[in-house]
Symmetry: C2
């Protein structure tokens, strides 16, 4: 098959690298001319295609920010019934709601639960998807051929497949990914706002580095995600807020016995995780 | 020299392992009988000493929770002038304030900026301290002999030495370590409080694992730290809270242009870190 990767950054570039040893033909497309050049230099794809060729490919992978995925649907409305379109966006409800009727059968909505805080073609990794979970949403509305092809590709990438309603996915993703990004951004900003952040950061060890790693993430990508998953993000932030308020109150009130139980309870996460 | 390690958990056990190839004699002490047995089985120390022998050692390392460090001072008030006492606690002001006048010359207040979320003798690592920062506080009040010995030991462990006022240390440690622990505990609890945490956690990838790792930490140790660094912790939580409130408000108001700048600003942390 010819697979066209739209968006040659971390996700698209890694998708291409992960399939490099398969017998599929990989072509790339990116609005950013520099990304196209880098993708060729790095050997992510065999060549850069124009958008007409992208549309004539067997599979089109949309590895672009979630708002751009919705915009791309206009240009894809006239593709052939046998062309598979797979998006890799971190939100699913708004994207699925935006699929034109004529394209719904072609479309497979996927969210690979993987990534790094880096972005662009140079961030691409051959094993980014290996052993990771990919969530496929609302598969009942995708055509059989297209589901079969999606499963084939994610299997080739050695991913673990989880099927889920888009609504459940978006709620879970808010708790597991989107809200934690908000915390990491806020943590980084709180330190930067101090009089002498350098002195504070001199003391940074593994814990702080882990907690602030997500604060390296792309503003373009994450503004879009927060916009599209607004209600679930606000809901998960409210739950986090209640917990942090409890903690603050126990410390203020010198209620260290309750604080001990509160911390001990949080340890239980790792019985599940 | 004979070095007595009081507290044979992660920090004390790793301190002993890090000095294993030196010509110092390492003895251990722990109220927990099982920890003593494990420390011997793991070869962390040569033997277990009683507290009288601990007090007659050349150096006493206090690798116990910060409230226990303060309690231990009573039992140490009558040690010889040439015995060095070094504490490894994560808070420094309250500990230094609690040192009896007669012990002040002996005492070197240290905070090694390292650790893992694990605890107990089995968590000990030979290279836990290597290349990490150790903050030494208010050294002007420690005797020359004792400062020299502390520097010798931290150099043997290949640590990078930073000298700082206890007040600055405690403020910085709140931002870089104590407040991030509170966030991680609250995050873990927010997910656990949901109807089906297992379904949510199925989707956990590297980002969530990083953000929730600190929520494995010991309730005993962290209740003490939050108690001793109460004011700085509340201060840093307030700063974090302001940032998170801004984020929440921008999302509520659909002000995604401002949100983009807010996220982009947080990226700058990594120009320093």
């Amino acid at each position: 098959m010819q697979i066209a990767i739209v968006g040659l950054g971390l996700m698209g570039g890694s998708f291409a690298l992960g399939l490099k040893n398969s017998d599929h033909t990989l072509v790339g497309f990116d609005h950013n001319e520099k990304h196209c050049q880098s993708a060729l230099e790095l050997g992510l794809v065999e060549r850069i295609a124009d958008f007409d060729e992208v549309k004539r490919s067997d599979v089109v992978i949309l590895a672009i920010p979630v708002e751009a995925i919705i915009k791309a649907m206009d240009s894809l409305h006239d593709i052939a019934p046998e062309t598979t379109v797979i998006d890799l966006g971190s939100t699913k409800e708004k994207i699925i709601a935006a699929i034109p009727e004529t394209l719904r059968n072609n479309f497979v909505a996927a969210h690979p639960m993987t990534g790094t805080e880096k972005f662009g073609p140079h961030a691409a990794l051959p094993d980014l998807y290996e052993d990771k979970i990919v969530v496929l949403c609302d598969l009942k509305d995708s055509g059989q051929l297209h589901v079969r092809r999606a499963l084939e590709l994610f299997n080739l990438l050695q991913m673990k497949i989880v099927k889920m309603d888009a609504a459940d996915h978006d709620l879970h993703a808010a708790f597991i990914s989107h809200m934690p990004h908000a915390l990491s951004f806020a943590l980084a900003r709180a330190v930067l706002a101090q009089q002498d952040p350098k002195s504070i950061l001199t003391l940074a060890a593994g814990g702080f580095k882990d907690m602030s790693r997500l604060a390296k993430s792309s503003p373009d990508m994450w503004t879009d995600i927060f916009k599209q998953n607004k209600q679930n993000l606000l809901h998960s932030l409210k739950h986090f807020q209640q917990e942090l308020d409890s903690c603050t109150k126990m410390v203020e009130d010198d209620d260290f016995e309750s604080l001990h139980s509160w911390i001990a309870q949080s340890n239980k996460l790792h019985h599940i995780l």
